[in-house]
Subunit: 211 residues, 2 copies
DNA sequence: TAGATTGTTAATCGATTAACAATC
DNA sequence: TAGATTGTTAATCGATTAACAATC
């Protein structure tokens, strides 16, 4: 019953592709249009939809608007998601300033840092002392956190987050985190992405074959 | 013969874990120590090593230093990797300022942007006009690029990169890119990571079961 | 109707895990 | 030797793809 990560990531891709198709004036799509637009196979599209009980019309495909509503509902886009960031270095600043989250209903409501020089309560998105994370998360009922602190601090911060009600973390620190059973951690490791690329670029240049 | 992405990502994880173990004074590891440290199974560790012809000693495990050398060689860490960034917004600035890449042999050598206000040739990492990307990549023989431009510009930029010798791209723009057969694109979509988290947090809170 | 597309089942593919013989 | 660990093969697991009957 619980779907796998890739499947849900594909739903996000469908959603984005549908917005683009919609903007181009399309009203309906067939599974193979959407497959092209999202970079997957038509089989995968129909399988994923079937998994969530989304049905179209044989011969008439899917209504884009209706489809978007269903995907948005599955992905929890019907309400604004409040998110906090721990560690207010360059990366966190970029995330806080990024305009793209807003239109997707993702709102970074506060940052936390140990460095007093970074604190600023009057900001649009306030930067608060790390000790206040606990109370803030509890009071506001925050469920999602981003970890952008150095490796050495990540474990502690994660523990504090989980203890106070955070259920999901996007972790940019290059270290595995211990998470309670009912919580999720998604890892983003930019260094590993680049390292990975280097490997495959070298491998492909050696083999001269397609993947 | 060509290994899969997850396998190579695990090699990066082993490498990082080994550095930590090394720093703690360990000289040897067994597959199950390393598995714990990297967050995988002992079977996976031995399987991965076997895939690359890395062997240890029955009963004595693996020499950490020797292992690190081999992993670093596989991952292309024996030489500095020069990387460029297209789009010098907040995210790119954060990447350029990030200190962690250097010790891993990853060097961002230039940024490119269409906005003249961002240009700066005298910076440690210069920010140049986007039109100069082509010549720069060719002259310097750059193989790896990062795309941090808006969605609408990403396709064009990728095409320019590939045409001029870039073989691998980390793409932060929320759109699929067309890539030549002998090139690779790794996608990082922060919005989808958060969206994904929201889905699983909601799903887990409904089921109250472990994954 | 003929043609095209969905929805679902079955087949395939590949990655992960388990198991265990070899051996230090 | 007895015990523990590797290296590899086989089994399992799950995700993706293909195929096709149902049907608009």
């Amino acid at each position: 019953m619980l779907k796998n990560r890739n499947c849900i990531i594909r739903l996000s891709r469908y959603k984005n592709a549908l917005y683009r198709l919609n903007a181009l004036g399309f009203v309906r799509v067939f599974s193979d249009n959407l497959a092209d637009a999202a970079g997957v196979t038509a089989s995968a599209v129909r399988k994923d939809f079937s998994l969530f009980g989304i049905s179209g019309n044989k011969k008439a495909g899917y209504q884009i608007e209706e489809l978007l509503e269903k995907l948005n509902s599955i992905l929890g886009k019907d309400k604004v998601q409040k998110v906090i960031v721990a560690g207010c270095g360059n990366l966190a600043s970029a995330l806080i300033k990024y305009k793209g989250f807003e239109k997707e209903g993702i709102k970074i409501v506060a940052g936390f840092d140990i460095d007093p020089a970074k604190h600023n309560r009057s900001n649009n998105v306030p930067v608060l002392p790390l000790e206040e994370l606990k109370g803030f998360v509890r009071n506001q009922g925050i469920k999602i956190g981003i970890i952008a602190v150095p490796e050495a601090a990540a474990g502690q911060v994660a523990e504090t987050m989980f203890k106070n009600g955070i259920k999901g973390i996007v972790n940019f620190a290059p270290i595995r985190l211990k998470a309670p059973e009912d919580c999720v951690v998604n890892y983003v490791n930019l260094e590993h992405e680049l390292e990975n690329l280097v490997y495959f670029v070298n491998a492909l240049s050696k083999t001269k074959k397609k993947i």
